[in-house]
């Protein structure tokens, strides 16, 4: 221990704090990591636990509007999972889950198909052009997300830019109905989350060693084939990172379906909001939210676990 604190005398105050921390079992390094951990615990783990707790309660007309966890008014043990049971019994919920997963899945796919060529193109540009193009990707973030979605509303509406243009060119005779359809929702989600796909992909593709493609060509591999067997497998971490960054928020997306998808868009984000604000059923809203968390987190954790294992294995 003594050898760990050689500067005790030369730095009186710092040394004292240090020796106290060390006496408490903290190394200076731990103290540094502690700050972000504390932050995450207070603002992420604790709220999650609170929501989990509420999801087991039942709604009551009171302040707060749910039964306490313990005590005489608490939920009987056999009714603890009632909220979760309802998720399976009421078709509203699982349909909303399916719709949301569907929207998220196809939006992710479209983002990948659009984003990959863009990221690839940017990564192969000269450094100065690269910076400019990246700026263009990030630029939309300078405007509020809500304003951008509203802008799409006016672009896609019956009197919007798209319809005006198509009518003016004589391609269509009467305005297309785009707004308040699933198509509008997809446009909104893809538009919003495309940068989250492009940026990790770019970071990955930019690092790629181009001599690998030369080596492939040298060994008789045509460029398109080399792209399939070298570039794509090597960019897999970027694809996965981008897909997760798009898929996860898209599942819980509330604003875009609400503004662009119309009243019939049954999405899980909207169900949570309705349960919470309109039905004032906090326990049910919490149960829906916890279920989303489980649906998203478990596959991701499993994936990371297996990926970690695959990388460790020497043979």
């Amino acid at each position: 221990m003594a050898s760990d604190v050689p500067q005790q005398t030369s730095l009186p105050l710092g040394g004292q704090i240090r020796s106290i921390l060390i006496a408490l079992g903290f190394k200076p390094r731990t103290a540094v990591i502690l700050v972000p951990y504390l932050w995450l615990t207070i603002f992420f783990v604790v709220p999650c636990i609170i929501i989990l707790k509420i999801s087991f309660a039942q709604t009551v007309i009171a302040q707060p509007p749910y039964t306490p966890m313990f005590g005489p008014e608490s939920v009987p043990h056999d009714q603890l999972f009632d909220n979760f049971k309802r998720l399976f019994q009421d078709s509203l919920y699982y349909k909303a889950y399916l719709n949301s997963l569907n929207l998220a899945f196809f939006s992710t796919l479209i983002c990948l198909l659009i984003g990959y060529p863009m990221a690839y193109g940017i990564a192969r540009c000269s450094p100065s052009t690269r910076a400019l193009l990246l700026l263009a990707i990030i630029l939309p973030f300078w405007t509020s997300f809500l304003i951008r979605v509203y802008a799409w509303k006016s672009i896609l509406s019956k009197e919007g830019v798209v319809n005006d243009l198509l009518l003016g060119l004589g391609i269509i005779d009467e305005p297309l109905l785009i707004l308040y359809t699933p198509a509008a929702m997809y446009i909104g989600v893809v538009y919003t989350y495309l940068p989250f796909m492009i940026l990790p992909l770019y970071a990955n593709l930019e690092k790629m060693d181009l001599s690998l493609l030369e080596a492939a060509a040298d060994l008789g591999c045509r460029p398109l084939k080399a792209f399939c067997v070298i570039t794509i497998p090597l960019s897999l971490p970027g694809i996965i990172a981008g897909a997760l960054l798009v898929f996860i928020p898209a599942v819980g997306e509330y604003v875009i379906p609400e503004l662009l998808g119309g009243p019939n868009a049954l999405m899980i984000g909207k169900v949570v909001a309705d349960e919470f604000f309109q039905n004032r059923d906090w326990p049910m809203a919490s149960a829906v939210a916890v279920a989303i968390l489980i649906i998203l987190v478990i596959p991701i954790m499993a994936f990371q676990y297996f990926q970690g294992k695959a990388q460790e294995a020497p043979k």
Partner: protein
């Protein structure tokens, strides 16, 4: 230093045979990157079965020339023929060449086996043949037991051997090696040099090796092309390059050399006499050069061809007096740094034939540097 090779014997010097067809013809090739001329009007003929080294410092254009042979760069002007075929419109994936990259460029997501099999897979080789050929080549480079490892699980030397195996497995007409042994330590480098020479003998593949390491070039190659500023300044066997450099640059680049500036006094077919204030003595060379009397020349003498004496020899020619300013003991030999009376410093190497010679030459001793009349080379540029 230069390991003599059977191939370098006069009888097999194919490049001296006027009827021999060169296997690779590089004709007036120039490559510019913007304003920068990387390769400047290079021509060379390389014959089947040769192990040709392109030797030069960094930025001399040797790698660019190699990349043009592989097809990764297109010459700005000039032509490259491999086996009589103009390579201008042939993309890298259709050329009969394989390259071993300086960075090895192993595919990180594939195992050693998959890396080596990569080229064969793209040739539509039958699967059972692929397996046996991959195994055979991995045996040759002694990497069979690591066949299922990924590149990041290998050491630098192992990776280098996998890269060599990958470029060899297709048995290309022409194998291009870019600084093949750069990352290896001395022992492993020497072992691999001989391994490459064995492979070359066995498979009869034509090799072109790019290197900045003159020792590597000397050991490996049948002929060396010395490059400087985008041009090949001399082509010859290791012996020719070392013993008969044609310029100061080559003399200085290959091995170590002492250069004396001087003027020709006598130029007869049988001998040359050169007056040099730098040497402080007349230099007599027992072979003629064709240059006008009075012309400025540089006389190059290798350190190992010089001798040190404590007593003044009788012959006034080829004898310069000086003082020992430094001795570097290297085990098998010692390098002496002599400050001549003219102020010029020369290096002399002497092999340590006896363990502790009694009249050993020591620091600050007055000595005479002498050399035989056939040792020096007079250079006009």
């Amino acid at each position: 230093m230069a390991a003599e090779r059977a191939k370098a014997e006069p009888s097999t010097q194919i490049w001296n045979d006027p009827n021999a067809q060169p296997y690779i013809r590089i004709e007036n090739v120039t490559k510019k990157f913007g304003d920068f001329v990387a390769v400047n009007n290079v021509s060379a003929n390389i014959y089947r079965g040769e192990l040709f080294a392109l030797l030069g410092g960094s930025g001399c254009g040797k790698t660019t020339l190699l990349r043009m042979l592989a097809g990764f760069e297109q010459p700005t002007s000039g032509k490259i023929y491999i086996d009589g075929v103009d390579m201008a419109d042939i993309p890298p994936y259709e050329r009969p060449t394989n390259m071993m990259f300086q960075s090895y460029a192993l595919f990180p997501h594939m195992t050693v086996e998959q890396n080596v099999a990569f080229g064969l897979n793209h040739d539509k080789t039958p699967p059972d043949q692929i397996k046996s050929r991959v195994d055979a080549i991995l045996d040759m480079v002694q990497m069979r037991q690591f066949a299922h490892r990924k590149p990041h699980q290998l050491s630098g030397g192992q990776r280098q051997r996998v890269a060599l195996a990958r470029s060899l497995v297709k048995e290309p007409k022409l194998l291009l090696l870019d600084e093949p042994l750069g990352a290896l330590d001395k022992k492993l480098r020497e072992a691999t040099q001989f391994e490459i020479m064995n492979i070359q003998d066995r498979l009869g593949i034509t090799f072109i090796v790019v290197t900045h390491d003159q020792e590597e070039a000397m050991t490996l190659s049948t002929r060396i092309g010395v490059m400087n500023n985008g041009q090949i300044v001399q082509v010859g066997t290791p012996k020719e390059i070392y013993e008969y450099p044609n310029t100061k640059f080559v003399a200085d680049f290959i091995g170590s050399v002492n250069l004396f500036e001087g003027n020709i006094v006598e130029d007869e077919p049988g001998h040359v006499l050169i007056e040099s204030t730098e040497a402080g003595c007349p230099i007599y060379i027992d072979h003629g050069i064709s240059a006008a009397p009075g012309a400025k020349v540089w006389v190059a003498v290798r350190p190992e061809k010089m001798k040190l004496d404590k007593t003044k020899p009788d012959d006034a020619n080829n004898c310069a007096g000086g003082v020992v300013k430094g001795i570097a003991y290297m085990g098998n030999m010692s390098v002496y740094l002599i400050k001549l009376d003219s102020g010029k410093e020369v290096k002399v190497t002497m092999s340590n034939q006896r363990r502790a010679a009694e009249h050993a030459i020591d620091w600050d001793d007055r000595v005479y540097v002498t050399w035989h009349a056939n040792s020096p080379v007079a250079l006009l540029s």
